[in-house]
Amino acid sequence: MPEFLVLALLAGLGVSLVTGPLGAFVVWRRMAYFGDTLAHGALLGMALSMWFTVAPTLAVALVCIALALLITALQQRRLLSTDTTLGILAHSALALGLVAITLIPGARADMEGLLFGDILAVTPAEVLTIWVTACLVATLLWKLWRPLLAITVHLDLAQVEGVAVARMTLALKLMLALVVAVAMKVVGVLLITALLIIPAAAARGLARNPESMVVMASAIGATAVAAGLGAAWLWNMPAGPAIVLSATLIFVLSLVFVPARLES
């Protein structure tokens, strides 16, 4: 296997390690649009990183964190519905990112890579960044698992029982911002949410408890990465979209082969 493919696979596996559990939270808490907004903000982060020549992952993470805090602040003021707030921020951030990148000389060429990912061009340093971030997020998730699950199931109940609700919600949003920053490398700005929610949705039919759903979501994500890279190698497909389509295929198979689910 050529070296760039090995690096791409390592990058993709590192990202799936954390998109599994965080994707599950995104699905459980109906935060898909929130994730999308952060992902769109990632483009602005890339523009800023080129402008100020800082590490892209750092710039993207910072912009995503700022965006997450801004969303929280706007939600608390309750001027607009969450839906509308996110819609305004998502597309404004995307538009701002597109404008900013166009204004930077020489940056325009890589627009496709930014929007749809450039996993086949990932460097060893980037793979290292992905794994360090993934391990950090995974450790945090491990430590905070029970309170995070408790606030997902019932916020007020968790608070009465002594969970630091505000801190947990913030931790979840910050972790999501970090994951968006590293997932961007794999599938690009426009497909990050897909990498979060499709494996988690596919895992739902197979899982009996939250933990198994998270593990399966990561496993499905990893399988999709491997399959997508294989398709990219064999049939010269764009890697990011091929990874997402592989995940979609697994999701469809899970619908067909998993027996009728218990729903409300």
């Binding site: 408790a150 199931v153 019932h154 009465v160 729903e263 409300s264």
Partner: protein
């Protein structure tokens, strides 16, 4: 309000505003060990806001909340809106509050749904869900149980059983219970004292007293007849609990 030796919870002059709208004003209440107090009032009366202030989830804009030192509160929320994609059994739901599965089993046993421990939460009926929520509140070994619409989504027979269970729990734990209901007649048999809320405390006292209070009749008058049938079947229950509603119903019919 009846003077109590050692109140678990005292609210004095509570006021709460959202933006420019005052939703609660001049709220005083005291809750002592062993007492069941029910908050009733129409939608928008501020019941949930008051409960949230009692629980410490909201801070009042004026007034004081004093809780007995080390007060443990068990909370049974009004509803549980769990996303269907979250695979969670009743047992795991309880373990979010108490990791020790033996304690969770005991709590489920007390509320009568131990056989549903591995059942997905989303597949439980209304009454089963309420019993699961009650079991989780019990895990806290509460001094004060706060029950927000505890019989919501439960059929009439199930409501009676649930109120009996709540009463048994009160006796076993010797805890205070603060209950929310949108209708007095549903809780007549189950409560010692009623506060009728509509932004402020319209009236309070025994269920019998409140149901005859002009302020109550003005708020709920037209609905009174609707629920009289409900009390026809109370002869099975503990006599002390029964007398009040039976008497009252007869007067209401007259």
């Amino acid at each position: 309000m009846t003077p109590q030796p050692q109140p678990l919870l005292t609210l004095r002059g509570i006021e709460k505003r959202y933006r420019n709208k005052t939703v609660l004003r001049h709220i005083d209440l005291t809750l002592a060990r062993g007492q069941i107090l029910t908050l009733i009032g129409p939608n928008g009366a501020g019941k949930t806001t008051l409960v949230k202030i009692v629980l410490g989830l909201l801070a009042p804009d004026a007034g004081t909340v004093s809780r007995a030192a080390g007060l443990r509160i068990g909370y049974m929320p009004q509803k549980l809106a769990l996303d269907p994609t979250l695979p969670l059994s009743a047992g795991r739901f309880l373990q979010l509050a108490e990791p020790d599965i033996r304690l969770c089993r005991a709590a489920l046993e007390e509320t009568g749904i131990l056989h549903l421990i591995d059942h997905p939460v989303q597949g439980l009926s209304g009454g089963e869900t309420q019993r699961m929520l009650l079991a989780r509140a019990l895990l806290r070994k509460p001094d004060l149980l706060v029950l927000d619409e505890p019989v919501q989504g439960v059929d009439v027979t199930g409501q009676e059983a649930l109120y009996l269970l709540i009463n048994r729990i009160r006796q076993r734990l010797n805890c205070a219970i603060l209950m929310v209901s949108h209708d007095l007649h549903l809780v007549m048999a189950a409560t010692d004292e009623v506060i009728c809320l509509n932004g402020h405390i319209c009236c309070h006292g025994s269920p019998e007293h409140v149901s005859n209070d002009p302020a109550f009749v003005e708020l709920f008058g037209s609905r009174t007849a609707l629920y009289t049938h409900h009390h026809d079947h109370h002869h099975d229950l503990d006599a002390t609990v029964v007398e009040q509603p039976t008497d009252r119903v007869e007067r209401a019919d007259a």
